[in-house]
């Protein structure tokens, strides 16, 4: 068995090292046991969308990846700034539409041709042109259901509790305040560094968000 002495395995970390795994350090069970509130992330607060987008770009440029912005209305530049530009929603909707269309047509086919063939006005059992309107409707229905429930599922909504709601001013996120969060599970996250970094971004204030 070829040994690689330089490589440290996860279970053989140095006991002297205070933070062996930065990305797990802040939410380890022993912290919870001691009733120290675990950290969700560091949040900075901004007055306007331009500052928020600029700050998000700077944070992304600093190498942080698990970041998120919060705003009262959609800001196109913001999702680009945090590096979130792709979503699988269109694919889900396409699949929903295809399933709805195929399912709608074959529902009618099965009922009118296989399960209970009935001669109506001498028309063929599979009078497919007459099945098209309902096929169209089921296509749209299933695609629309996929769009709504797909969006909610990808967003993990409904979600009554979320750590960011603990932030004192966060109720303003649905009115006129803008927020940026570096999450504690970011690989580069170190609480002091992240706090120092966010203070340089020119927001109103920087706070810790507890889980």
């Amino acid at each position: 068995m070829a040994e690689d002495d330089d490589k440290q395995e996860p279970w053989e970390h140095d006991l002297e090292d205070p933070e062996p795994f930065h990305h797990e350090a802040v939410v380890t069970p022993h912290l919870r046991r001691r009733n120290v509130p675990a950290l969700y992330g560091i949040m900075a607060e901004f007055d306007n969308p331009s500052d928020l987008v600029a700050a998000a770009r700077a944070t992304y440029a600093a190498g942080y990846r698990r970041i998120n912005g919060y705003s009262p209305y959609p800001i196109e530049e913001l999702s680009e700034a945090i590096g979130f530009t792709r979503t699988s929603l269109p694919l889900i909707v396409l699949i929903g539409g295809i399933l709805g269309g195929v399912g709608g047509f074959f529902m009618q086919y099965w009922m009118e041709v296989i399960d209970y063939p009935l001669n109506v006005g001498g028309k063929p059992y599979n009078s497919w042109p007459a099945f098209i309107p309902i096929t169209f409707e089921t296509t749209v229905l299933c695609a629309a259901l996929a769009a709504v429930f797909g969006m909610l599922a990808l967003n993990k909504l409904p979600q009554p509790y979320h750590p960011v709601f603990n932030a004192p001013n966060f109720a303003l996120a649905t009115r006129d305040r803008f927020f940026l969060v570096i999450e504690a599970n970011d690989p580069l996250f170190k609480q002091d560094e992240a706090t120092q970094f966010m203070k340089t971004l020119g927001g109103r204030e920087v706070i810790d968000v507890e889980v």
Partner: protein, 376 residues
């Protein structure tokens, strides 16, 4: 009466979807301040429309028989029938409109939740907002979902009135059996719908002092849409008469003659005056700017669209191919009271909506403010 009121209500609903979906796709930003209200109107109008076929069944508690569910009778619905198409079209339309409306409301529910001062409202709006927190990732998916829904609703709204028109066009009754019916019905629906939006918006704007949000530009634009669709409808009337003549078919020719000179001629000419003559005043800018006159025109058009459906349904049916099926129809007092009842129900829902929910989309209005621009 049931049929024509069904068609009238469902037509009214179409403007809401048109405003929210088609104008969104066309990037008409002026839609923002009226779309929420128009969507609510759509939903409530479709609810009224949906009641008519169910009442018409005679045994409304068995309405679920229309859906293809495995039953002890061992039979399935007749999918070759346009009435069955209607069931799917209207129920899909109602479902998609409701989802579109609700999805649009989620971020506004979150705003209401965060602004509510008493616990019960916080809980209620909190439940409805489903934990919306304005996350950038959520917004991104949300916008995509909204756009896709708009893209799906657009062909849907056209298909709904197309299928409604199939109820007539697939039949062989003279005056119904025309290939022109789908586009003619869709234009009529948009026409009637915009008339209803204006009819409701003009007093609301005044009462709630919304002049800053719903500006004269909105009024002008909606009036122009009405004028355009009114002209399409007028073209439809002309072509209807032309088809009757050009068909060379004596029944079709008689139907046209009977409409213009028969026992229901008064309805026909009233319809021409309401739907073709009256909207011509909208060419004049002064008329469009005078809200009282505009409002009166909208009332006239709403009546005209009701007359149109009356003429199509009744005058075609009362002189069928065989004289044995000829007759006269006048709506009974119960027909009228039921119609009034649906109007009352419609306004009840509308006023509840205005009272409890934001009738102008809060978050969409924010996006068009100058402060919302991201400066680079």
């Amino acid at each position: 009466m049931d049929i024509l009121n069904f068609v009238w209500w469902i037509g009214i609903g179409h403007a809401g979807t048109l405003i929210s979906a088609i104008l969104l796709l066309l990037r008409q930003k002026w839609r923002t301040s009226i779309n929420r209200f128009a969507e609510a109107m759509t939903l409530f109008a479709v609810a009224q429309a949906g009641m008519y076929p169910i009442m018409h069944l005679g045994r409304p508690w068995l309405a679920y028989w229309l859906f293809p569910y495995p039953n002890t009778m061992g039979i399935w619905p007749q999918f070759r029938s346009p009435l069955m198409w209607d069931v799917f079209a209207v129920s899909t339309y109602a479902t998609v409109s409701a989802m579109f409306w609700f999805v649009g409301l989620i971020p506004d529910f979150a705003t209401l939740r965060d602004r509510a001062r008493s616990k019960p409202w916080q809980i209620l709006y909190g439940l409805l907002a489903m934990g919306w927190r304005g996350s950038a990732r959520h917004w991104h998916r949300y916008e995509m979902a909204y756009l896709l829904l708009a893209g799906l609703a657009t062909p849907l709204v056209l298909s709904v009135h197309t299928i409604v028109s199939f109820d007539f066009a697939v039949g062989v009754i003279p005056g119904w059996h025309a290939t022109m019916f789908p586009p003619y019905f869709v234009a009529g629906a948009i026409y009637a719908g915009f008339a209803m939006v204006l009819l409701l918006t003009i007093p609301l704007r005044k009462l709630y002092g919304l002049e800053g949000f719903i500006t004269m530009r909105h009024m002008h634009n909606m009036a122009k849409v009405m004028l355009a669709t009114g002209l399409i409808v007028g073209y439809g009337y002309v072509m209807e008469a032309f088809f009757g003549w050009y068909s060379g078919n004596r029944y079709e020719r008689y139907m046209v003659w009977n409409r213009m000179h028969g026992p229901y001629a008064g309805y026909y000419w009233a319809l021409i005056i309401c739907n073709i003559v009256t909207p011509q005043f909208l060419w004049i800018k002064k008329v469009r700017s005078n809200l009282l006159v505009l409002w009166l025109i909208c009332i006239v058009v709403s009546i005209g669209m009701w007359l149109e459906r009356f003429v199509i349904v009744v005058t075609s049916l009362h002189r069928d191919f065989v004289p044995s099926s000829w007759g006269m129809y006048q709506p009974s007092v119960w027909d009228w009271t039921m119609f009034l009842g649906t109007i009352g129900f419609f306004f009840t829902l509308l006023f509840l909506f205005i009272r409890f929910l934001p009738m102008i989309s809060i978050f969409e209005m924010r996006t068009i403010l100058p402060e919302a621009e991201v400066e680079e």
